[in-house]
């Protein structure tokens, strides 16, 4: 099993519903976020292009954050989901520095927090909150090893990319382009 996500940049309108749904689902304090939206523009008026992406932890196969965690709080769960065990975290911030995607933040309660792919929902067979709420239905989640999963089907006929592949982290969020 290998959980992953595909996000269709052709459909995303950048509404940020994924951000607020994550916030209410995961009790993320105001002023912080586990996911966010990036708008990348290219060109000059009137020859323009915009790519809009919902970003979050890439749940990398080769996660620098897990490797550099001094206590083992950062670890892989089944299916490759990277999580932090809050009460084993000393808040040193090494993982934050190591992440090329800036996917982690220091929770005001003193530990490092990040996207869990909504593990608590996924365990019950539900989609992550961001995927479930997206009005444009531009996010696909599931098991890459299952050819019939939403994510596998989404990747089948489309071109896609990952962010910062040169960092060698083997990220598991795929952007359909």
């Amino acid at each position: 099993m290998r959980y992953a996500m595909a996000i269709d940049t052709k459909k995303c309108v950048g509404c940020s519903d994924c951000v607020v749904a994550c916030q209410t689902e995961n009790n993320v304090p105001h002023g912080y976020c586990r996911d966010w939206v990036v708008e990348a523009m290219d060109g000059t008026y009137p020859n323009l292009e915009i790519e809009i992406r919902s970003e979050r932890c890439n749940h990398c196969d080769n996660s620098p954050c897990v490797r550099c965690c001094p206590t083992g709080a950062s670890h892989y769960e089944a299916g490759g989901i990277v999580t932090v065990t809050a009460n084993e975290c000393i808040g040193c911030g090494a993982c934050i520095e190591s992440c090329p995607y800036d996917a982690r933040y220091s929770h005001p309660d003193g530990y490092v927090d990040k996207c869990t792919f909504c593990l608590h929902r996924v365990e019950k067979g539900e989609k992550p909150a961001c995927v479930a709420v997206c009005p444009t239905n531009c996010m696909y989640f599931g098991d890459l090893e299952d050819p019939d999963s939403d994510v596998s089907r989404a990747l089948k006929n489309r071109k896609y990319k990952t962010l910062a592949p040169e960092a060698g982290t083997k990220p598991q969020i795929f952007y359909l382009i």
Binding site: W36, Y45, A132
Partner: protein, 749 residues
């Protein structure tokens, strides 16, 4: 908008861009090792109770579920899977509706205006009984002195209905919502003049099955009209062509096959040129046009000289692009939607622009066709038995004095004018009830609004938040949020008729109350108790649901119920007989109604004023995470966007020496300066002849502790209003601004 700390890092890895949502953070230096309280877990849905509701953050009114914990606190709101408005997916505002409930700045107690010793006014808190007594006494006094018709209700949203019932029972029908004359009114009139039916809400656009959709200044995706955004994403999946006409590179433009960066204020010229091409290249749906429409020959003669070459000189859109896009529309016909838009009050000839849009749809045969416009259907909500309303001696129509003959609904700006004493004002308004609409950030021409409010004998405001309008009230009544109250059943039209219920998920916070309760209390004080034969509004809903063949118990479990259609098919069948509700019984390409009232029966292009040197046309619009001024204090949504910025083309920025995020004040052509400064966003997405800002920011009431002074308020810069003579709509886009880089030292309250 906050920028994620390492955004530069991402850029360095090869992608340029900016973070539009998400939050900055700082490392928690100096925190103790192993924090004590660090085992927070997300809530388990199994431990939460869910209550059905429909959203009140915007008019789309998506149905959802409010989740409460064991302390009856609201934790989250999720969409209802069965709801055709949202299909289980609320938009960011609906998801963030929790922030409206938890807002610490909410109105908590009734407030009564009192004069201090120094002559200045202040509010004191009051108990409900006293506040309601004061409101009822003043309503009686104004009714006795000037006639009950001199009381008007300005409203928006669900709570307005309850106050409307009260006012009609009292004897006045002067009830108005700015959503008509400041928003969608012209399009309703333009479409009614053509098809004999307005567009309504939600729009019956069959986007999910369209092959070509044309957006003219309509920025779906930034306006988060949920069902439409969802269907636009489906259309993108299906490979539909999207054509976007907008001087700004909108989100929709970025999803479009064709973006036409039109010169602002010239849309009608483009539309007429499209009509010219579609008729002359015979791209129209011939059988449909022959069977259902009236006036093709007249129209053909009318647009004879309106060639793409003619339009090029006006719109700056190249003739071959005009032809190519017209052919795209024709090839996809009848599954083509030329979208009616929503906020249509731009330049004062808006009914005519909407007519041109309607005519294009008629030529393409899209009205009543798959992938065009479907025939919507709504449930008829049975009327709970209450006595007949008395007949008023005069209404808003009389107050128009013969102006705006085709206004289908009351005209807010006309009622504001009617509040200002004048010799020829025979129908003066003397008191206002304002419910759920923040007029100072909604109405243009703030001096006129101020004049009207100064002339009022009495104003009561019903709201959940200390919006700017509350500052002008004599009495403020704190309403509980939509999550804490019953309201009317939602029966808005859709492909299939349906009903949605709103039930309170928890007790109202503070000393706030539902509107239905306030209306009943006031009714009893005005001797109108017999119009309110219920103790709890739940009884009304329960009765109505029973009449509809369901029940409160069933609706509590399902939230939304879908019924079978009984008005016929969703689309016209080939050659089906159809009579339209117009004078000719046909779809009128030539409008006999407009001709009858002395207006152009077919749309014409008129040149509108252009910005003077050093000024830029002020365009405004929406962001997906906010609803006008209503959400600017909502912490969940502030996390997504906490201020507006003025979009400036890099060439213009260079000319003025403006830097990214530099604070500037905006001054308009009439010398009005924004109360607050606004940050500059330098972007290629905007033309060099205009600027853009998101509407709804720049709140000036300090009681809105989050929203106060964040960004600037476009409404106070809209002082030139181009009125549509057909229906009274306020054209708002004829205003021009320039930049002040030094603090003009404006007073803020």
């Amino acid at each position: 908008m906050k920028t994620r700390r390492d955004f530069i890092k991402i850029s360095a890895l090869g992608t340029a861009g900016i973070a539009v949502a998400g939050s900055a953070f700082s490392l928690m230096k100096g925190k103790p090792l192993f924090a004590q309280n660090n085992d927070k877990k997300p809530f388990d849905d199994g431990d939460l109770e869910r209550t059905p509701t429909y959203c009140e953050i915007c008019f789309w009114n998506c149905a959802g579920w409010t989740y409460t914990n064991s302390d009856r606190e609201i934790i989250k709101i999720l969409g209802n899977d069965d709801d055709p408005h949202c299909n289980g997916r609320l938009c960011p505002r609906g998801t963030g509706g929790v922030g409206m409930y938890t807002d610490k700045d909410r109105l908590k107690k009734p407030l009564i205006r009192v004069k201090k010793e120094d002559g200045k006014s202040t509010f004191r808190e009051a108990e409900w009984d006293e506040a309601l007594d004061v409101v009822a006494a003043n309503m009686k006094k104004v009714a006795e002195e000037h006639g009950v018709e001199s009381i008007a209700l300005f409203n928006h949203g669900s709570s307005g209905h309850h106050m409307g019932h009260l006012l009609k029972a009292f004897g006045s029908t002067n009830i108005v919502a700015p959503s008509y004359a400041q928003c969608r009114g012209p399009r309703e009139v333009g479409f009614t003049a053509t098809f004999g039916a307005g567009v309504g809400s939600p729009e019956p656009t069959d986007i999910r099955d369209t092959r070509c959709m044309v957006l003219i200044g309509s920025h779906i995706g930034e306006n988060m009209h949920n069902g439409q955004v969802q269907e636009m994403a489906q259309a993108i999946d299906n490979g539909a062509t999207i054509i976007t006409v907008d001087p700004r590179y909108s989100t929709a433009a970025s999803k479009s096959k064709f973006w036409l960066p039109i010169k602002p204020a010239t849309d009608i010229a483009l539309l007429l040129a499209w009509i010219h091409v579609i008729i002359n290249e015979e791209l129209y749906d011939k059988a449909y046009v022959e069977q259902y429409t009236y006036g093709l020959d007249l129209l053909k003669a009318h647009v004879k000289n309106m060639t793409p070459e003619w339009a090029y000189g006006i719109t700056t859109i190249k003739p071959d692009v005009i032809r190519k896009t017209a052919r795209e529309m024709g090839n996809a016909s009848p599954s083509t939607i030329v979208h009616p838009g929503r906020h249509a009050t731009w330049y004062g000839d808006d009914t005519q622009r909407s007519r041109a849009i309607a005519i294009l749809n008629a030529l393409l045969g899209s009205w009543g066709r798959r992938g065009g416009f479907y025939f919507k259907e709504a449930l008829h909500l049975p009327h709970y038995p209450t006595p007949q309303y008395p007949s008023p001696k005069w209404s808003w129509k009389d107050a128009l004095n013969g102006k705006y003959p085709m206004a289908g609904l009351s005209v807010s700006n006309a009622l504001i004018d009617a509040t200002i004493p004048a010799e020829d004002n025979k129908h003066q308004i003397h008191a206002w009830i304002v419910s759920g609409t923040n007029l100072p950030l909604t109405m243009p021409d703030k001096d006129n609004l101020k004049k009207a409010m100064d002339a009022l004998e009495f104003m009561v405001v019903v709201d959940t938040m200390p919006m700017e309008i509350t500052g002008y009230a004599d009495v403020v009544l704190p309403e509980c949020t939509y999550l804490e109250r019953y309201d009317d059943l939602r029966v808005s039209p859709h492909r299939e008729p349906n009903v949605a219920i709103r039930m309170p998920a928890t007790e109202p916070m503070y000393d706030s109350k539902p509107s239905w309760w306030m209306a009943k209390q006031l009714g009893e004080r005005l001797g109108l108790g017999h119009y309110f034969p219920w103790d709890d509004y739940k009884e009304v809903i329960e009765w109505q649901l029973k009449e509809l063949g369901t029940s409160l118990d069933e609706m509590k479990n399902i939230g939304v119920k879908i019924f079978d259609r009984d008005s016929g098919a969703l689309y016209l069948r080939d050659g089906e007989d159809m009579e339209f509700n117009t004078n000719t019984g046909k779809i009128e390409l030539y409008s006999t109604d407009l001709a009858h009232h002395g207006f152009d029966p077919m749309p014409k292009y008129t040149a509108h004023p252009e910005p003077p040197a050093g000024y830029y046309r002020l365009n405004y619009g929406r962001a997906p995470m906010h609803t006008f001024s209503r959400t600017a204090n909502n912490l969940n949504l502030i996390d997504l966007m906490d201020e507006n910025k003025v979009w400036v083309n890099p060439k213009v920025a260079k000319l003025w020496g403006l830097k990214k995020d530099q604070l500037v004040w905006l001054k308009n052509q009439d010398g009005h300066v924004s109360t607050f400064p606004i940050k500059v966003r330098i972007t290629e997405r905007i033309r060099w002849d205009s600027v853009f800002m998101v509407h709804g920011f720049g709140h000036s009431n300090k009681k809105l502790t989050q929203a106060y002074g964040r960004g600037a308020n476009d409404s106070e810069l809209i002082t030139t209003v181009m009125i549509d003579p057909i229906m009274g709509g306020t054209g708002l886009r004829g205003n021009f601004v320039t930049f002040l880089t030094e603090d003009p030292g404006k007073e803020t309250n």
